[in-house]
């Protein structure tokens, strides 16, 4: 195999990885702090994609419509997440995990159909913003600029998240909430507000990643349930609740998928789920997480 082919395969895997990282980071954060598996995260991602498309339609003539659309989508989904948390989810914190899981699944059903109702069942697409439309040549392969942009956004968000979590007062509160919610509350911190904030931020990331994926993937119903399982795989590999864990989990996932196709054609789907099962069996807290 030619080195340029392998490099292309590697870059393809890395692009997949960074997209998944954007999605999975929010998922991992909610799990780490709130101990909730949020099935609706994929639905938030899908709503983000549809909102971005909608805003691009509204602003149609403007060439730079993509950027405000992405921002609007992320903020819109953040608002949706905040409402969901304030109105419904907080009433389930004391209940069993089953009820929390099923609540997020109810959202999957409702948001999935709401999207079909509002935007139809056809494929929608958004064109790449003109600034990032071209491609550059690296090692004799053509790499689309937009993919390179995503590859830069992923680590930037990981780094910012790590910085906030480990070196600011807010981050300390969030980490404390993930260790011992009651103790933090007893010390006078407003745990409810921290939870709402976490959920809003996680939804923001979901909406943003949904918007950013639109130039390279068409928007279709069903993208929510397909992406959420991939998000779970990444979060499990890296360790639920760990920012860098999720980052490396995405990188591993992307490369296994990308090179798995070369080694066992047709069985790359199997290999990622098998990887998820193996990690859960030998290190349930993931490669980079800590045991709970």
């Amino acid at each position: 195999m030619a080195p340029s082919f392998l490099f292309n395969q590697f870059m393809g895997g890395l692009t997949t990885a960074m997209f998944l990282f954007l999605i999975a980071s929010g998922l991992s954060l909610v799990f780490g702090v709130m101990r909730v598996i949020n099935f609706a995260h994929g639905s938030f991602y899908m709503i983000g994609a549809y909102l971005a498309w909608q805003v691009v339609q509204w602003l149609h003539p403007a060439a730079g419509a993509f950027w405000p659309a992405a921002l609007f989508a992320a903020l819109g989904v953040a608002l949706l997440g905040g409402l969901v948390e304030r109105l419904f989810f907080r009433h389930l914190y004391g209940r069993e995990e089953l009820y929390q899981l099923l609540f997020t699944y109810a959202l999957v059903l409702i948001l999935g159909d709401a999207a079909k109702f509002l935007w139809g069942t056809g494929q929608l697409s958004v064109s790449t913003p003109p600034v990032l439309a071209g491609s550059v040549e690296i090692f004799g392969t053509a790499q689309p600029l937009y993919n390179l942009f995503i590859m830069a956004v992923g680590p930037a968000i990981a780094f910012a998240g790590w910085l906030v979590l480990n070196h600011t007062g807010v981050g300390r509160m969030v980490r404390a909430a993930s260790f011992d919610r009651e103790m933090l509350g007893a010390l006078g911190a407003n745990v409810g507000a921290i939870y709402t904030g976490m959920f809003v931020f996680s939804s923001f990331l979901a909406g943003l990643s949904g918007a950013l994926v639109t130039p390279i993937q068409s928007i279709v119903p069903g993208m929510d349930v397909l992406i959420i399982v991939q998000g779970f795989i990444v979060v499990v590999i890296g360790g639920m609740g760990s920012f860098w864990g999720t980052f490396w989990g995405s990188v591993i996932y992307g490369q296994v998928l990308s090179f798995g196709i070369l080694i066992f054609p047709g069985f790359s789907l199997f290999s990622v789920f098998a990887l998820m099962a193996v990690i859960l069996i030998i290190r349930p807290w993931g490669l980079f997480g800590r045991p709970i």
Binding site: E97, L98, L101, L102, A106, D113, L269, F270, L280, P284
Partner: protein, 332 residues
């Protein structure tokens, strides 16, 4: 004291027998479509009861129960279609295949706590899905296994009154008998000392371990039993729908059967069958008017979670208790 006398009278009526006999009359008094719906309800009931052995009785939240259903469906379908094995052998083989897979996967799953347990069951079910989707030679891949033959049911003609039944009706009656036997077996298991131990483990695993129970072994045993009966339900479903497809094993199906169980009431043995009946009936009513069935299912789920966590049977039982208390108070 009329309330108490009424209660004992009610408990003396053999309800399960009445329901079984009523269900058995469907091919004669109902339309072809009624038989179709009844088959679906009966199979779903077994699937949901098998899940509830984990969910309600043992307190294990499995998000991948559809894997065992799917293994059963594929084992039975492949044996009957590709290898032309008769149903009498293929059906137990489906249960056995599901049991073996449940033993292997469950061995790892029961080692994990709560959310991790749910995630690992989900991972195993997606492994089954990925294999079903990609192993073209054996499972038919994304095309699935269409046109699985019905079992040979000509012998039923010998029974008086069965002569002019369609093959679909005959298969429904066979399904009904097999499901009734399976549910009876699950009922015995739930009521046995073994079943009581499972409930003890659900309520307090630490205490169960202190009194000398091997918690994981019990959980694994429950997992295998639940998987076996899910496999039998899957085998029947594959024959009923005349084909096995990879979609049957996709993770969202696991959520559906959980909803069915909760809708009926997971604290009651008869909750899941009631949930199966209610969900299939509702689906049939609602899809006649609108394509947005998932939306309504989501709303139903929200109502259940926030207003009626006991499900239908839980609600009925609570209503009866309230009524009886009223009657007793009036008599006093």
């Amino acid at each position: 004291m009329t309330g108490r006398r009424r209660a004992t009278l009610a408990s003396r009526i053999p309800w399960t027998l009445i329901v079984f006999l009523a269900a058995a009359t469907v091919p004669w008094i109902g339309s072809r479509y009624d038989t179709f719906l009844a088959s679906q309800i009966v199979i779903d009931a077994l699937f949901a009861v098998s899940l509830n052995l984990l969910l309600g009785t043992t307190g294990l939240v499995s998000f991948g129960h559809v894997a065992y259903f799917g293994v059963g469906a594929y084992v039975c379908g492949i044996l009957m279609k590709t290898y032309e094995v008769p149903f009498v052998l293929a059906f137990p083989a489906a249960g056995l295949g599901a049991a073996l897979f449940a033993l292997v996967s469950g061995y790892f799953c029961v080692r994990l706590q709560k959310l991790y347990f749910a995630m690992l069951t989900l991972a195993f079910s997606q492994i089954v899905w990925a294999i079903a989707y990609k192993w073209n030679d054996m499972t038919g891949g994304d095309q699935g296994l269409p046109e699985i033959p019905y079992p040979d049911l000509d012998w039923m003609s010998a029974i008086p009154g069965f002569g002019d039944l369609r093959i679909g009706d005959r298969f429904y009656l066979l399904t009904l008998v097999l499901v009734a036997l399976s549910i009876a077996a699950l009922h015995m298991i739930t009521r046995s000392p073994f079943g009581r131990m499972l409930t003890t483990i659900r309520d307090n695993p630490e205490r169960a371990a202190f009194i000398g129970l091997n918690v994981r072994a019990y959980q694994l045993a429950a997992f295998v039993v639940a998987g076996t009966f899910a496999g039998l339900a899957g085998a029947l479903y594959g024959l009923f729908s005349r084909g096995v497809f990879a979609d049957y094993v996709f993770w969202a199906k696991s959520a559906e059967v959980i909803i069915m169980t909760i809708l009926g009431g997971m604290d009651f043995f008869w909750g899941p069958p009631v949930g199966a009946l209610a969900l299939v009936w509702l689906n049939q009513q609602i899809t006649a008017y609108t394509e947005y069935w998932p939306f309504l299912l989501g709303i139903i789920l929200l109502l259940l979670l926030f207003l009626f966590p006991g499900g239908i049977v839980g609600g009925i039982v609570a209503g009866f208790r309230l009524a009886r208390r009223r009657i007793l108070r009036r008599d006093a």
